[in-house]
């Protein structure tokens, strides 16, 4: 009592060392030990997770082709205001750069990059590079190039270079959001026939939402059974829940195709029982994707809810009933609110996992059921367009982070319990 009121004189140990210093010294060894214990994990995570993640995200704004292959042109064109045609020195820089690029055989990437902006650009620079060097040296390179191909007299082609002269570009991120930078440097909406990604993002979020809700509806009773059945029965049920968990996702998806197809067990049983005349279209559409995703993701919903329910004593329900509450009302007013932490955690887990789902929609869905991951895979594997792949991935990552923040604000992050 008196020490807190008195002016703060440092408390000394018996040896006369201030207590705080001594405590710090005594704890230091423990701290070093614990740091050493987690160091391997931290290094592993940094090397295989954080560094690649940052590098990949950087690729979504990376724009090395023009900047690296045409360094002189990039420097010269920055003085041009974008109106009319650039000055003579820009033309001179370009032929110098193109000659170097032709000799170094780096024309390929440049042509591909420029062609994505303006079709026909690849053939233009290839044709130009082949014609170099001009012999004899012309008085005006500008005139010579325009004579070689009249497109060099069109400002549009120069604006493409100017736009991409920087090492970084918002091009891929904007394209992933169905926007582009037009010739005047303004951000505008993409052509309607090219605008697909916003729909894909909306579809991804909607499908994930539906899957999460379905998972919750089916998992809650299962978790309740698991938590309330006698140990022996609940262990058996737990094995049933976990069994599919130990099987490869690919195998399970293939099994669903077999079960759900028009000649599959489900359809033939329903027809045999006379419930339907025509086979139901259960697979290669949204239904198939939902069935399979819910099946695959249910354990991730069941387990957090179960672990929370396991800690709720059955006497709460009994108490509510003894106080006069109808059993259903008691369940809703007393039991359910106590499981919210588990429901929230399970919901978040399932939602985030389904946002990134790839194999199941790819194998069980129609083209209209593909989610963002499908396009990431498409750009990574088929067209090798790392810019688009990482931009889509990065935006998905950002959307997930925002959702998590909103969600934890709504539910309260400290109330999430995974076990």
């Amino acid at each position: 009592m008196t020490t807190s009121a008195a002016p703060q004189a440092p408390i000394l140990t018996v040896d006369g060392v201030p207590l705080k210093t001594q405590l710090h010294r005594a704890e230091r060894m423990n701290r070093i030990k614990s740091l050493a214990l987690i160091a391997p994990l931290a290094i592993f995570l940094i090397l295989v997770f954080i560094v690649p993640l940052v590098a990949m995200l950087k690729k979504s704004v990376d724009n090395p082709e023009v900047h690296d292959t045409l360094p002189k042109t990039s420097a010269a064109i920055s003085h041009w205001d974008g109106k009319g045609l650039p000055a003579e020195d820009v033309y001179q820089s370009l032929i110098a750069d193109l000659q170097v690029a032709y000799d170094n055989q780096t024309m390929g990437d440049l042509g591909k990059r420029l062609n994505t902006e303006l079709p026909g650009y690849r053939s233009l620079i290839n044709k130009t590079a082949r014609a170099l060097p001009f012999d004899p040296k012309p008085a005006s390179v500008k005139a010579a190039m325009t004579e070689l191909d009249e497109r060099w007299g069109d400002p549009t082609y120069w604006q493409v270079i100017r736009r991409n002269a920087s090492a970084y570009t918002p091009y891929y991120l904007l394209a992933s959001l169905d926007h582009r930078i037009d010739e005047q440097g303004q951000i505008v909406a993409a052509e309607p026939e090219q605008a697909i990604y916003l729909d894909v993002f909306a579809r991804t979020l909607w499908m994930s939402f539906v899957v999460t809700i379905l998972c919750l509806v089916f998992s809650y009773p299962v978790a309740y059974l698991l938590a309330t059945l006698p140990t022996r029965k609940s262990n058996l049920l737990m094995i049933c829940v976990l069994l599919p968990f130990w099987t490869s996702v690919l195998v399970r998806v293939a099994a669903w195709i077999v079960l759900l197809q028009s000649g599959g067990i489900i359809n033939s049983t329903l027809i045999h029982l006379g419930i339907i005349d025509q086979p139901l279209q259960l697979v290669f559409n949204r239904t198939g994707v939902y069935i399979s995703m819910v099946h695959i993701l249910m354990p991730f919903m069941i387990l957090p809810i179960y672990s929370v329910m396991k800690g709720i004593s059955p006497s709460y329900l009994r108490a509510a009933i003894s106080l006069g509450s109808h059993p259903f009302a008691a369940f809703w007013q007393v039991y359910f609110p106590q499981t919210v932490a588990g429901v929230a955690a399970g919901g978040l887990l399932v939602f985030i996992m389904s946002i990134g789902y790839y194999i199941t929609p790819a194998l069980l869905g129609s083209p209209n059921d593909q989610m963002v991951s499908y396009f990431v895979a498409f750009y990574t594997n088929t067209t090798i367009n790392w810019g688009m792949a990482t931009a889509l991935g990065g935006l998905l990552f950002g959307a997930t982070l925002i959702l998590y923040i909103v969600y934890s604000w709504l539910v309260g992050a400290n109330r999430l319990r995974l076990g």
């Binding site: 009994r318 108490a319 003894s322 106080l323 006069g324 059993p327 007393v334 609110p337 106590q338």
Partner: protein, 365 residues
């Protein structure tokens, strides 16, 4: 308390309960609970006392027999319509509701108006002296405070019957003793009927008007605390409640109130005949340690022997003296500190005796 059956609030009639169809948890329960009384069901775990309480609350159904509350039979009344308050062992306060919301729960279920709810909650909070805690959550309170809230919640809707299932089991000794008195006083003030389950005999003796001792699904004895302690009718009750010196022998002769029991080594004890069989059959004699007199005090006793002091255990207010008497080495004498002879030491052989009334001849164990 005894005159008319009108005062009977709850009655169990030939109630049986089995979980597996092979053994009976409650064998054949016949029990009348008077209006306004504090009845304790006391017994070791597995004796059927909690099962009986749960059948009364409605969380277990009787396999056979009938339970009546007042005029109506309860067998087909679901638990939420029985209007019986209940206090659980782990309090079962709803953790997501504040104390006031917990207390308002049974009132809101009964669709009382907000002002009535507020008033009743305030009143009951005052009764358990927790006025300042209305807006705390149960998790922010100590065990004793939570216990009081649980008690208040079981009383706030003014049920005619309150059941308590070992409500003080989780509290430490001092708080438990304090709460025992508090519950007893609330019971006296409100006049509500309480059925209380415990395995702690001192708790049962402290609080109850009557105690029903359960063993193996049967009531062994049902009596007021004093009668239960002083006049047990079976060896089980004598052993379960309080300390007890037991001596096994054979019934030699019986005449009226008293009987003679011959011990293993030939000593004969004059005992009160309570629960014995035929002559020649085994008998168990029960003597309370505080009824045994030493040295000259024992001169007037009907039963006089000599005992050798084996051990002293000092317990502050009294001393327990372990002695060897009639071949029994575990014979315990309880001696108030004020009456202890200071010269007594281990190894001494002293006269020892007890009155015939305090040696009760009971069924053999």
């Amino acid at each position: 308390m005894s005159d008319t059956s009108k005062d009977i609030l709850v009655s169990f009639r030939n109630v049986q309960k089995s979980y597996d169809g092979e053994s009976l948890i409650v064998k054949n329960l016949n029990l009348d609970i008077q209006r306004g009384e504090f009845l304790t069901l006391l017994g070791p775990s597995g004796s059927g006392k909690t099962t009986s309480l749960m059948m009364l609350a409605g969380f277990e159904t009787p396999t056979a027999g009938e339970i009546r509350l007042g005029e109506r039979t309860l067998n087909n009344v679901p638990p939420h319509k029985r209007n019986i308050g209940m206090v659980f062992q782990n309090y079962a306060l709803f953790p997501h509701l504040t104390v006031a919301e917990n207390l308002a729960f049974p009132l809101k279920v009964r669709k009382l108006s907000a002002s009535v709810v507020d008033e009743k909650v305030k009143k009951v909070l005052g009764m358990v002296q927790l006025d300042k805690f209305a807006h705390r959550y149960p998790g922010q309170m100590s065990g004793g405070q939570q216990q009081r809230v649980a008690l208040a919640r079981a009383l706030v809707f003014e049920p005619q019957l309150v059941l308590m299932d070992e409500p003080l089991g989780a509290l430490d000794k001092q708080l438990r003793e304090h709460m025992q008195m508090e519950i007893k006083h609330i019971h006296e003030r409100l006049g509500v009927t309480v059925v209380y389950v415990t395995h702690d005999q001192s708790e049962a003796l402290t609080m109850s008007d009557r105690v029903a001792v359960f063993n193996n699904g049967d009531i062994q004895q049902i009596d007021a605390p004093r009668a239960l302690y002083e006049e047990p009718t079976s060896s089980f009750v004598a052993n379960f409640i309080g300390e007890n010196n037991r001596m096994n022998g054979v019934l030699q002769s019986a005449n009226g109130n008293s009987c003679q029991v011959r011990l293993q080594h030939g000593e004969v004890i004059e005992a009160k005949q309570v629960n014995v069989g035929e002559i020649g059959q085994p008998v168990s004699i029960s003597i309370r340690p505080e009824r045994i007199l030493l040295n000259n005090d024992s001169e007037s006793c009907t039963n006089r022997f000599s005992g050798r002091v084996c051990e002293f255990v000092y317990l502050g207010d009294h001393v327990r003296i372990r002695m060897e008497v009639c071949g029994e080495t575990d014979f315990v004498v309880k001696m108030p500190i004020a009456r202890l002879d200071d010269k007594l030491k281990v190894g001494d052989v002293v006269p020892i005796g007890w009155a015939m009334d305090h040696a009760r001849a009971l069924d053999p164990l």
